[in-house]
């Protein structure tokens, strides 16, 4: 056991210090997660829908469905 005097340890503000650090980390991670999700999921999904409806002919789709016989109000054209 040495007889040297050690520095007094920090007694106060421990929670505040921890919160300051972890709050910054939490906000950064949250924004990063939201941004990643927006780019990867949101934007690609919007693009997929836009591309689909650019080339979509609803009447042609209706005729295809009618010929397949799924409707009860209109029968397939022979």
């Amino acid at each position: 056991m040495s007889s040297a005097v050690i520095a007094k340890p920090v007694m106060q503000g421990l929670l505040a210090k921890r919160l300051r650090f972890h709050l910054a980390v939490a906000f950064t991670l949250a924004f990063a997660a939201a941004g990643t999700f927006k780019f990867v999921v949101g934007d690609s999904r919007k693009k997929a829908y836009a591309d689909f409806y650019k080339k979509y002919d609803s009447m042609k789709a209706f005729e295809a469905m009618r010929d397949a016989g799924i409707f009860e109000s209109v029968k397939p054209k022979k």
Partner: protein
């Protein structure tokens, strides 16, 4: 016949201290506590409470009393064995004793697997004797017709089911 054995069993039970704290603790292999006065401080070995309310040994014999007298003087005069004896007066189990690992986990895991296996037997028996026949809508033929109808209706044509189907070549997209 059954009623007679029940009566004999209850006779035996009356003779014991039935499920008192003392007998429960004794059954679990702990030290038998002399008194059951729960209003007085009790000794406990806990990892999160390092200093129990009372010392472990309450009634000191003569040599322990002499040791306690010697403790009142300078501790430099105590030998190592005496220090250990004083420790054992105050505490029942050291942290090392307390945190001894055991083989209990093997028993626990074994018992759990046993009961899971027994449950498996019950599940098999249910399949064999309880469940009605499977619905006709789960046959392969019906499921194929169902999938064909879903494609005809263009279910989720953008990102879902029908988007994976190639309508020109009439097959699933590669």
């Amino acid at each position: 016949m059954l009623g007679l054995s029940v009566f004999q069993r209850s006779h035996v039970l009356k003779a014991r201290s039935l499920l008192s704290a003392v007998s429960v603790r004794a059954a679990h292999g702990h030290e038998i506590v002399k008194s059951e006065d729960l209003s007085m401080p009790m000794y406990c070995d806990r990892r999160d409470t390092p200093l129990p309310d009372i010392p472990y040994v309450r009634k000191l014999n003569t040599e322990q009393t002499a040791l306690k007298e010697k403790e009142k003087g300078s501790w430099k005069n105590l030998t190592n064995e005496e220090k250990i004896a004083l420790y054992r007066i105050a505490f029942h189990q050291s942290y090392h004793d307390m945190t001894q690992s055991s083989n209990e986990w093997k028993t626990v895991l074994g018992g759990a697997f046993l009961f899971i296996g027994f449950t498996g037997l019950i599940v098999w028996w249910q399949k064999a004797f309880v469940y009605p026949p499977r619905p006709h809508t789960l046959t392969e033929e019906w499921k194929e017709k169902q999938a064909r109808r879903m494609l005809d209706m263009q279910i989720n044509p953008v990102e879902g089911f029908a988007s994976k189907w190639d309508y020109e070549k009439n097959e699933w997209k590669k």
